[in-house]
Symmetry: C2
Subunit: 380 residues, 2 copies
Amino acid sequence: MTEHKTVLKGLEGVYVTESGVSLIDTENGALYYAGYDLRELVEHSSFEEVMFLLIHKRLPLRQEFSEFRELIRRSMELEPIHIEAIHRYARIVDVLTLLVILISLKGTGRQGGDPRDVNSAVDIVAKMGSFLSTIVRIKEGGDYVPPRSDFSYAENLLNMMNGGNYEDEHVEILDDLLIIHADHGISASTFAALVAASTLSDMYSSVAAAILALKGPLHGGASEASYEQALNIGDPAKVPAWLEATLSQKKKVMGFGHRVYKIYDPRAVVLKEIIAKYLDRMDGKVRLVYEITKALEDYGQKYLAPRGIFPNLDLWTPILYRMIGLPSDTFTALFAVSRSAGWTAHILEYWRDNRLIRPLHLYVGEYPRKYIPMELRGDS
Amino acid sequence: MTEHKTVLKGLEGVYVTESGVSLIDTENGALYYAGYDLRELVEHSSFEEVMFLLIHKRLPLRQEFSEFRELIRRSMELEPIHIEAIHRYARIVDVLTLLVILISLKGTGRQGGDPRDVNSAVDIVAKMGSFLSTIVRIKEGGDYVPPRSDFSYAENLLNMMNGGNYEDEHVEILDDLLIIHADHGISASTFAALVAASTLSDMYSSVAAAILALKGPLHGGASEASYEQALNIGDPAKVPAWLEATLSQKKKVMGFGHRVYKIYDPRAVVLKEIIAKYLDRMDGKVRLVYEITKALEDYGQKYLAPRGIFPNLDLWTPILYRMIGLPSDTFTALFAVSRSAGWTAHILEYWRDNRLIRPLHLYVGEYPRKYIPMELRGDS
C-alpha cells in the first residue's frame, strides 16, 4: 500500500467513479450530457428533456416524455408544511439555507440506495424550482402560485415567481440557463451528494448536502461575487486600471479560471451566444454590467490567458440572471435548482454499484503522549 | 496522468489530507486523539477537555480551560428561533433532520475559511447538545431547560433532556460515550464536512453536510439498527440459530465489521469495560439486550473472526444509550453531537491549508451522439 501514502489533497486529477451523466472535453472545450453536445441541447432541447436524458442516458420517446413532464408538473405542487416554512423563514435566512431546510424536511424518515427511484429524483428537481420561485414571491409580499399543467418547467418557475409578470423570451433564457448548469461531472457539490448517498442516506438528504457545498464562494457563490465585482467596478472605462491593480495585489478576479478547464469554458461560449441574441434588448443596469463584463473579458484574457486562466461561466451568467429579473441573492440558488438534475442523476447512478466513500488521512503529530493531570500542567 | 486513470471508488486506502486530530492504529487496535490514547482519556479526561484537545492538539492549562468551559456553557443557551423550530418540527421530522435544520439556521449569511474560528467550533458542539436534549424534552411534552453554569457538558445534556431526572453515574457514562465518539479520522461524515468546507462554505453548513452523511445506515445509523437487531432476536438462547440463518442467507449482522479495522474495534473494547463496571445495576430490557449482545459477540466471533470481521462499537453502544435513558431514535443524533467535536476540529485544521475538493470521473458511454428531434424518434 506504500504507493498510496501520497496525500491526494483536493483529489485533483483523481477518478472517484465511473459515470455516463456528462463528459467534459477539456482539450476541445466541449461539454456533453450523456453524449449530446451541450450546444445542441441548448438549441433543440428543453430542461425537462435534459432531466430525462441525465437519468436515463437516452432521449425520451413521445409518450414517455409526456408522462415524464406530467410527473414533473404534479411534483411541482408544494405542501402546506413547505409554504408555511417559507413564510416563516424567507426574510430571516438566506435562500440556499432555506432550500436546505425545505429539502431536508422532505428527507425525514427516508432511506436511500434504490437506483430505480426516479420518482424521488423528479420530485427533488420539481420541488427545488417551486421552492426557489415561492421564496422569491413570498419575500416580495406575494402568495404561493400553484404550478400550471400547460406550462413548461421554466415557465412555471417564472410564473410562480412573478405571477404572470414575465416575457416569452425570459422563458427561453431561463430554459437555456437551466440546461447549461444541469451537470458538470463530479463538482464539489456533486461529490458531497455522493459522499452522503454512499452511506445510503436518502436522496433528499444527499441533495441537501450538495447545496451546503454549493454555498461556498469557491463553488456556487462565484456568480453572485462576479456580479458584485462588475457593480463595484461600475464603468467599463475603469476596467483596465482595476484589473491591473487587482492582479498586482494578487487578488482573485471573479469569473476567471476553473479547476478542470485550461481553455475557454464551453458553457461561457454558449452563454455569450445567447447574450448576443438579446443584446439589442438589454438596457439600463443590465447593459452596463454587460459592457463591464465585455471589457473584463477583453483585458482579462490579455493578462490571464498566457497563464492558462480563461473566463468561466460565472463571468457571463449574471447578465442573463438579471435580464430575467432574478434577484442577485438567488443566483446560486438557481444554479442549485438546475444542478439538482445532475445531482440526482449521479446519485441514482452511484447506487447501481454503491461503495461507501471512506478515505484515510496521514497522521501528523506525535504519539503516544502520556496524559498529565491538570494540576501538573502548570498555570495559565 | 495515466497512472491516475484507475478509478478509486470509495477512496479505500486513499489519503486525502494530513491531520493531527486522531490516529487509528489498526495493527495494535488503538485510537489516539492528538496522540493521547482513547482509553486514558476516557479514564482521566472529560468531553470538554477532549474538545479542547482536538482543536488545539494539546491539553489545556487550568486558566484557559476554565475560560473554555465557560464559553461552552454560554454557547449552550438556545435562541428563541431554535426553541420555536423545535416546538414546530420535533414531532413531525426525525431527530437528525431537525439537527440539520437547526444547525443550518445558524449558518445563514456566514462564510467559512478562518482556521482560528474556535468560537464557531465551540458554538456548534455546544448547540448540538442543547438541540438534542431540547428535542427529546419537548417531544416528551416538557419545556426548554436552560444550561446551568455549574454543570458539565454531559450533565447539562441530561438535565436539559430530563429536567433533573437522572443519576450521577449517567453523567459519567454519557461523558465517556461523548469522548468515545468524538473523532475517528476521515469517516464519511467528516469527509462530507471537508468537501463542503473546502468550497469555503461556513462551518455550520459544513457540519450540516456531515450530519446528512451520518444519517445513512452504513454510517451513523448502525447503532439504532444494532439495537433493533437485538430486540428482534429477543432471547440470548436464540442467537446461535439466528446467526446461522442470517449468515447462510448472506445478510449483514449489525455491529460487526468496519472499513478500517480488521481486528477488534478499540472503541468496543473501552465500551465493554464501561459496561462491566455497571453490569450489576443493569436490569429489565437493558439487561436482556446485554445478554443477547454478549451471545452475539461470542457466536459471531466464532464465525466471523476467521474472515477478519470483528465486533465494532455499534454492537455495544445501544446498551449504554438505553441505560442512560436515551430514546432509540436518538442514538445516531447523540453520535452526531459527540462527533461534531471532531468535525469542527477537522474543518479548522483543513482551512489552515485549504484546497477545493474536486475530483474527476471516468466517462463511460458513447459520444458524440447526434440529437434527433422527437418526431423522428418513433412512438411510445
